[in-house]
Symmetry: C2
Subunit: 211 residues, 2 copies
Amino acid sequence: MSTDVVSGEPSRLRADARRNRERILRTALRHFSQHGIDASLDDIAREAEVGAGTLYRHFPSREALLAAALEGRQKELLGGAQQAREIADAGAALSAWLAALQDYLRSFNGLPAPVLAAVKQQGSPLCLSCNALVALTGEFLDRAQQDGHARRTVTANELFLSALGLAWVLDRAETCGTSRQALEKVLAHGYLSTPPDVAPDGGASGASQVG
Amino acid sequence: MSTDVVSGEPSRLRADARRNRERILRTALRHFSQHGIDASLDDIAREAEVGAGTLYRHFPSREALLAAALEGRQKELLGGAQQAREIADAGAALSAWLAALQDYLRSFNGLPAPVLAAVKQQGSPLCLSCNALVALTGEFLDRAQQDGHARRTVTANELFLSALGLAWVLDRAETCGTSRQALEKVLAHGYLSTPPDVAPDGGASGASQVG
DNA sequence: ATGCTATATGGAGACGGTCTCCATATCCAG
DNA sequence: CTGGATATGGAGACCGTCTCCATATAGCAT
């Protein structure tokens, strides 16, 4: 185990292997961007001038390749999170985070699906980052709840899944007569006009962690 | 040459053709139920004891077969709509309709995707029923808005798309630590606790445009 | 019945995607 | 330079979609 945790990971690779890995990754990024997450893996291998076997050796599954190709975008998202953290108003911070999250989820067409899959089944290469995403959502949600901006009965998981659903709809429907803002607003305020949580029992504690 | 194209539709089929059509439909219903909307069409043909060509002659695309297989469920849904109509409270009626809609969308795993696709692009065999679904949603939403139960700025399209997103999430995540009810509640009330639509000034008209 | 033709059928096969396997090529430590 | 560990490519197995057309059949006219 001489894997360098700090420098990323692939240090024990032979020089040619590392070169190929990079080529594949660059090509994959382009193809996923252009054709969505269902881009043909053999096409990617071909255009990276690499055999299919080589691609599959480096990235055993589509998800693994996807996860690797998303690394850059994830760093951007983390940057967005940091920026959001610096916003004083907790409501605005939450909103900024959710916007950044939406942007991330739109990196590739169809991305919401594997992300959702990763949320539910452990073991996916996307899973680690997904858990981080839920945790971050929880962080901003907590803050907003403490400040009274967010409803206390909403959990991080629920909010994250709802955001995923929204991203999924937008992924394929943005141009169909309904704008992103409008749907975001529905998610923010709901469709009912009844008072938010008017809990019969004075729901005290709240802000429980997400399981 | 051509017989009356004018008349309705599938009565002009030869007896054997009609028999095969039924076999295919029955088998498809079973397969879609068991394996989701991605069930293998050739498998369906095989189990219906019919050549692949026969299946494709009757149902040129997966969506066409899907639409036909859904007919029964659609009738049920329409029944549900009728029941909802008879509910006096507009909010409860809307809620009942949305519940029925969710049930319908769970007829087959993965159904939300082709439904969303049908919403945006005309010409899909599912399109007709989809338009009806949006219209029905509008009907119940209108009522609820008149009674003050639903926020006035929400449109039928927005609500329907949001419901689709919810169905999509539930389709693949119900068991992952978050319940259907919880997500429905988020959709109903939003995640914010700020007042619903209260305009800064007592603006009455409302109904701000949407993209 | 019988013939006749529009209609319907089956299934072979083209196509394209995923993924595996392993003989061969390449790297690099000693 | 060399040997063994590592990496490579691409042929090909497998599976799903969908088309094409020689053949079979229903059902009308006779």
